[in-house]
């Protein structure tokens, strides 16, 4: 339930700070995002650079890189997800506690990028898990990662605890686990999760 902005500012003048549980909860979460220390490839180095002195992700409250998925709430998929790695990436995502978010960092994590034609390269992590923020670039600069983090913070601000669009964690009908693909004889099985990812139908040029 939103509070009238005018009333809020009037009260603030009188020294009373009014907020909702939802706002307070979101405010706390957005300023203390704990990313999973999950470096896959080249982009991981830029992720480390973003955490180091010059770019200093600590300014946005997200410097506590956790090695364990159980303590993290943001997964930065930093680099190429190969087919050999994809089941493990999904499993790590499953192990993270709700509410959780995913940033697909770099062209490879979004679509396979320059390695898209490879036989062992997954054409985008969004085939198996839902992605919240995509960062283009190969690799994206640390500034781009910071921008994605701020974008994510804005998103977290707008999360709801109740109502139709409430968080997945508070919705009992939403499933908590994503199916983990298995190694097949020629490819992963299944090659994508239809609940998460639906390819656009091919548009054929019409004959004139």
């Amino acid at each position: 339930m939103a509070i009238d902005e005018g009333l809020k500012s009037e009260l603030r003048k009188a020294g009373v700070f009014v907020t909702t549980v939802e706002d307070l909860y979101n405010w706390g979460r957005k300023n203390s995002i704990w990313p999973l220390q999950f470096g896959l490839a080249c982009c991981a180095i830029e992720m480390i650079a973003a955490a180091c002195s010059r770019y200093d992700m600590a300014r946005f409250g997200a410097e506590v890189f956790r090695p364990s998925p159980r303590q993290a709430d943001l997964m930065i998929v930093a680099g190429t997800v190969t087919k050999k790695m994809a089941p493990l990436a999904v499993r790590l995502y499953n192990q993270m506690p709700e509410p959780k978010y995913v940033i697909a960092m770099g062209a490879c994590a979004i679509s396979g990028g320059p390695f898209k034609e490879g036989y062992n390269v997954l054409k985008g992590i969004d085939r198996y898990i839902p992605v919240d923020v995509h960062i283009p670039g190969c690799p994206p600069r640390p500034e781009a990662l910071l921008d994605a983090l701020i974008t994510l913070q804005k998103r977290i601000e707008q999360d709801h605890l109740t109502g139709k669009h409430r968080l997945r964690a508070y919705d009992k009908e939403q499933k908590a686990e994503w199916p983990v693909p298995e190694y097949g004889e020629h490819d992963l099985e299944p090659p994508s999760n239809p609940d998460v990812w639906k390819p656009e139908p091919m548009k054929r040029p019409e004959a004139k």
Binding site: N120, E200, R204
Partner: protein, 197 residues
């Protein structure tokens, strides 16, 4: 360092029964004598090739060579084969390389070659890689398993006739091979309703 011809002559003199061919800068050795030649290169005091730098597998599809002999065209059929190239260097004498080539019999299934891992540890992972991607079975390798792909994988993806699984998503401008593949899998959008005239 000696020239390729000198090395060839010395090897053939030292190892009876070994016949080498010279192709470009490299010596071509048959499967039975690969280990003997490699051991000679390693132990010979003049060469002292103690270090195998590079091991590279290759796939040659069956091909035809057309040449002109006495005003008529001769077509020779070359059978397909897999080939492994070894680059030997010497850290003691600081010279090299000596390049060896060894070819398999055909390229069906997993043809075999002798492993040089018992002589050179450095070939261990490289031979496993060649097995994984090309399907060359190295006889005598201590631990020949797939190294890059997962264990249940059935194909040899670096072979020239390998077809990757069709998992391309929709492309804005599909063309050539991709278009043919895409047509097979992705459905076209439902036809637009015909407007009454």
């Amino acid at each position: 360092m000696e020239t390729v011809d000198q090395i060839k002559d010395r090897i053939e003199a030292a190892l009876p029964g070994v016949r080498l061919a010279i192709e470009g800068k490299s010596l071509v050795v048959d499967r039975q004598h690969l280990l003997d030649v490699a051991r000679f290169l390693k132990t010979d005091s003049e060469l002292a090739m103690d270090y195998v730098s590079n091991l590279c597998a290759m796939d040659w599809l069956p091909s035809q060579i057309k040449t002109r002999e006495c005003d008529r065209e001769v077509v020779r059929n070359l059978p397909g084969h897999l080939e492994v190239v070894y680059d030997f260097y010497s850290t003691a004498k600081k010279h090299g390389p000596v390049q060896l080539r060894c070819r398999t019999e055909g390229r069906e299934g997993t043809p075999s070659l002798p492993s040089i891992t018992p002589l050179f540890r450095g070939a261990e992972f490289q031979e496993r890689e060649a097995f994984d991607l090309y399907g060359i079975r190295f006889e005598g390798h201590p631990d020949l398993r797939r190294i890059l792909m997962w264990d249940g994988f059935k194909d040899f993806p670096m072979r020239k006739d390998y077809r990757p699984p069709d998992d391309y998503e929709w492309e804005p401008t599909p063309h050539d091979e991709v278009l043919q593949q895409t047509k097979k899998h992705w459905p076209a959008p439902p036809p637009a309703p015909v407007k009454p005239a």
